[in-house]
């Protein structure tokens, strides 16, 4: 067997307790095509592919591989049929080299490994591929784009001829993404493989997919040839009847005084390598400054220094003209608000209640604190107010915050940080993994804070989000600011090139 084959899912359902994650979904992927699987978070995309790959066992429905009904009981079975999946979170072993990773991925790894022979075999294999990867570099030393390539090579080396790619471009620069998807499409045209692309980016669907299947709340919401569909039609399938609230208009405010300044800041990452290499920037009142960049170029470390989670190794920060060390008293005095990425991990204590988490900025001051004593009632009242104003869906103020969905955790943190007076807001990937309604909501809140005169620093890996929201845009690459532009004059190609370090 060689070459691309088709795959068909018929009437597949999967329940987790009372939740129907997948409800009677059918999908046909033609041999040698690039098929997009579109849907919001929680629409059932990953449940569907996990059923195909044998991680989950569907309650109902059948799977046809190359026209024959097959039972895929586990990922090993899937590999036998030539099904391979590239995960969003890469599954390369970080400390192992690319060579070791690829050899271990083989189904028939010998008991004793002859590295010379394996190296020759792999070199021959890679020679026939449209791209390559450095064999002797440990996986943790690869850039995101190289990791993705190594991951795809691993699947092809395993003999996969049906590739499932889960949000493959989320960590790539626009150029890397185009190159990668272009290669996949060319290989499909040559009938070397069939690709199923999980995504939420319409641009990629329009440019690279032949057909599309849309899921909404576990059900099939629509399907068709991309050539016959428009973005509006696909968006309507994805979000159904509910329309997100119209975004808050940007008030025409002239930028005021510099509220947040960073001067030649340096910081190391957790492995001790220099991650932030002399960043200088200034954010004025009433403007949103966006920082673009591929993840892992020092943005996380920069935000952690601003948040007080990491020590700087050089340079300094100024907030409203005063030197800032991210101490609690300073944060309160200058009304600095923070929306870190992964809010449940970086801004919350999961097992504490929603009310307690919402009180973390001011629980030690009146009216919540009275000398030594804290007032649970005052905390609960303040929380009820924030829950209402920020539309946090929670069983109540006493529910542990970890029991809330991602969007509601983010809304709760947003309420805590933006509920009072805000002079400066630092936000990092604030809508990562959230659905349409939550994204619109949170973007509106950020713009509203700017309109009220806050200085906003917005770090994001999503270039579209930055182009929508920012007044000015900085690009960060390898720990440095390499490009500055206004949102109005922004040029995607130039930004992409700067992100890649050119």
């Amino acid at each position: 067997m060689s070459g691309a084959f088709s795959l068909e899912v018929a009437g597949m359902s999967k329940r987790f307790g009372a939740l129907a994650a997948l409800d009677d979904v059918s999908m046909r992927v033609d041999a040698g095509s690039v098929h997009a699987l579109l849907g919001e978070n929680g629409a059932g995309k990953s449940t569907l592919v996990k059923c195909i790959m044998g991680f989950y066992h569907a309650d109902e429905g059948s799977l046809l591989v190359d026209g024959r009904e097959e039972a895929v009981r586990n990922p090993r079975d899937a590999a036998q049929f030539g099904l391979g999946m590239v995960y969003q979170h890469f599954t390369l072993v970080p400390s192992m080299t690319v060579l070791e990773n690829l050899v271990m991925a083989r189904a028939d790894t010998p008991e004793m490994i002859d590295w010379g022979r394996e190296r020759r075999r792999l070199a021959d294999f890679i020679a026939g591929m449209p791209f390559s990867a450095p064999l002797d570099t440990p996986a943790h030393g690869l850039a995101a784009g190289e990791k993705q390539k190594a991951e795809i090579l691993k699947q092809l080396y395993l003999g996969a001829r049906f590739l499932i790619l889960d949000e493959p471009t989320s960590v790539l620069t626009p150029q890397e993404a185009d190159q990668m998807l272009g290669t996949i499409r060319d290989m499909a045209r040559e009938m070397r493989l069939t690709a199923l692309l999980i995504t939420h980016k319409f641009r990629e669907v329009l440019a690279y997919a032949d057909a599309v299947t849309v899921l909404r709340k576990g059900k099939l919401a629509g399907t068709g040839k991309v050539a016959e569909l428009t973005v509006d039609k696909m968006a309507a399938m994805m979000i159904g009847e509910e329309r997100p609230a119209a975004p808050v208009a940007r008030a025409d405010v002239a930028p005021g005084a510099v509220r947040l300044a960073v001067e030649d800041l340096k910081a190391d990452d957790s492995d001790g390598a220099e991650a932030v290499r002399g960043v200088t920037l200034a954010v004025r009142a009433g403007e949103i400054v966006g920082i673009a960049g591929v993840s892992g170029n020092g943005q996380s470390e920069l935000v952690e220094v601003l948040a007080g989670q990491r020590d700087a190794t050089g340079g300094r920060m100024l907030v409203e003209g005063e030197v800032y060390h991210a101490a609690r008293a300073e944060t309160q005095r200058h009304h600095l608000a923070l929306l870190p990425e992964e809010p449940l991990r970086n801004a919350c204590v999961g097992r504490m209640s929603v009310a307690e988490n919402m009180a973390m900025r001011n629980f030690d001051r009146p009216p919540m604190a009275n000398g030594l004593w804290l007032s649970a009632r005052a905390m609960r009242e303040a929380a009820r107010d924030l829950i209402r104003r920020y539309r946090v869906k929670t069983p109540g103020p006493d529910a542990p915050i970890a029991s809330l969905s991602g969007g509601n955790v983010q809304r709760a943190v947003l309420g805590r940080e933006l509920g009072g007076e805000v002079h400066i807001l630092v936000a990092a990937n604030p809508v990562f993994g959230l659905d349409f309604a939550a994204v619109a909501d949170i973007h509106s809140q950020i713009v509203a804070a700017r309109n009220r005169g806050a200085a906003v620093l917005l770090v994001s890996e999503d270039l579209d989000e930055l182009l929508d929201l920012s007044d000015r845009l900085l690009v960060m690459s390898e720990g440095r600011i390499v490009l500055e532009t206004t949102a109005a004059a922004a040029d995607r190609t130039a930004i992409g090139r700067a992100m890649a370090g050119h």
Partner: protein, 308 residues
């Protein structure tokens, strides 16, 4: 040549001999724990396993008359303790460090209880190779009287190092220890791999314990171990999960342990207790100087709970 002419040379020669003797249990426990930690789990219960190994090894050697059967029995008891640790850790929401501490106390208590009748008898001891035969000096001959288990460990160290880099099993253990997500995606079960790796660690710790009761000091008593099991766990971290470095670190700790007795032998009597504490000072110093508040420990398996 006679004793007196050796002079201060007595000290390094005695330290060398002592290092070889004292390092043997360190070497076995640390090589076993290295494999367990490479698989992503830490077993602090090895102190208990070591003492159980010492007791059961001595008991079996005494009953059968064969020290090697004692070593084997000690290893098998270690496997049982390793399996127990791994089995409890396979349950959801169980912390390997807490289980390790519980098993350490359990092992020590059980060994003292079962070992009561073994305090008096003498068991046959393990053989040693007289590698100092070429010398006329009794101190040199004594120092180079190398026990058989040390030689086994010496040969085994490079084999383990090679196996971790060149065999399927070695790579599976490293993969599970660095990213259980990746291992699962390739169809390997981290729990089973960790079970085997922890059993191996238990076996080695049991054998290390049998050395204490069957060679040096060579009898069973409740004061037999002075924390070698737990020190060996720290030693693996100090050796950065590298078998060859484990060997070096074991010799270093062994040598530090032998320093006190060696100085006593040449008549330095002041501060004896302080000198006997040398290995522990060394542990603290190494941890202080190799620490950093800003970076993770280099080379640590990614799944290890203490470095995560």
């Amino acid at each position: 040549m006679n004793d007196a002419s050796l002079g201060l040379w007595t000290v390094p020669i005695a330290v060398l001999g002592g290092a070889i003797r004292v390092s043997t249990p360190f070497l076995f426990v640390s090589l076993g724990e290295l494999v367990t930690e490479k698989s992503g789990r830490i077993n602090l219960g090895l102190e208990g396993t070591l003492i159980m190994g010492a007791m059961s090894g001595f008991g079996v050697a005494y009953l059968t008359g064969s020290p090697w059967l004692g070593v084997l029995a000690a290893g098998l008891v270690g496997v049982m303790f390793g399996a127990l640790h791994a089995a409890i850790c396979s349950l959801p929401r169980v912390n390997d460090i807490a289980v390790g501490i519980a098993l350490m106390i359990f092992g020590i208590g059980l060994a003292f209880y079962l070992g009561k009748p073994l305090v008096q008898p003498k068991a046959p001891t393990l053989p040693a190779l007289p590698l100092g035969f070429w010398s006329d000096i009794p101190q040199v001959r004594a120092a180079l009287e190398v026990n058989a288990l040390f030689i086994v460990g010496l040969v085994f160290t490079p084999i383990l190092s090679w196996a971790l880099a060149n065999t399927r099993w070695g790579l599976i253990v490293r993969m599970v220890g660095d990213s259980s997500e990746a291992a699962r995606a390739l169809g390997y079960s981290p729990l089973w791999v960790r079970l085997y790796a922890t059993c191996f660690g238990g076996f080695m710790a049991g054998v290390g314990g049998s050395f204490l009761s069957l060679y040096y000091p060579g009898s069973w008593s409740e004061g037999l171990s002075s924390g070698q099991g737990i020190t060996a766990v720290a030693l693996v971290i100090f050796a950065r999960w590298n078998p060859l470095a484990c060997f070096g670190a074991s010799l270093l700790f062994g040598g530090a342990g032998a320093l006190g007795p060696a100085l006593q032998a040449v008549g330095v009597t002041s501060g004896t207790y302080l000198l006997n504490a040398a290995p522990y000072f060394l542990t603290l110093l190494i941890l202080v100087f190799s620490s950093s508040s800003r970076r993770r420990v280099a080379g640590a398996p990614g799944e290890l709970s203490v470095t995560k």
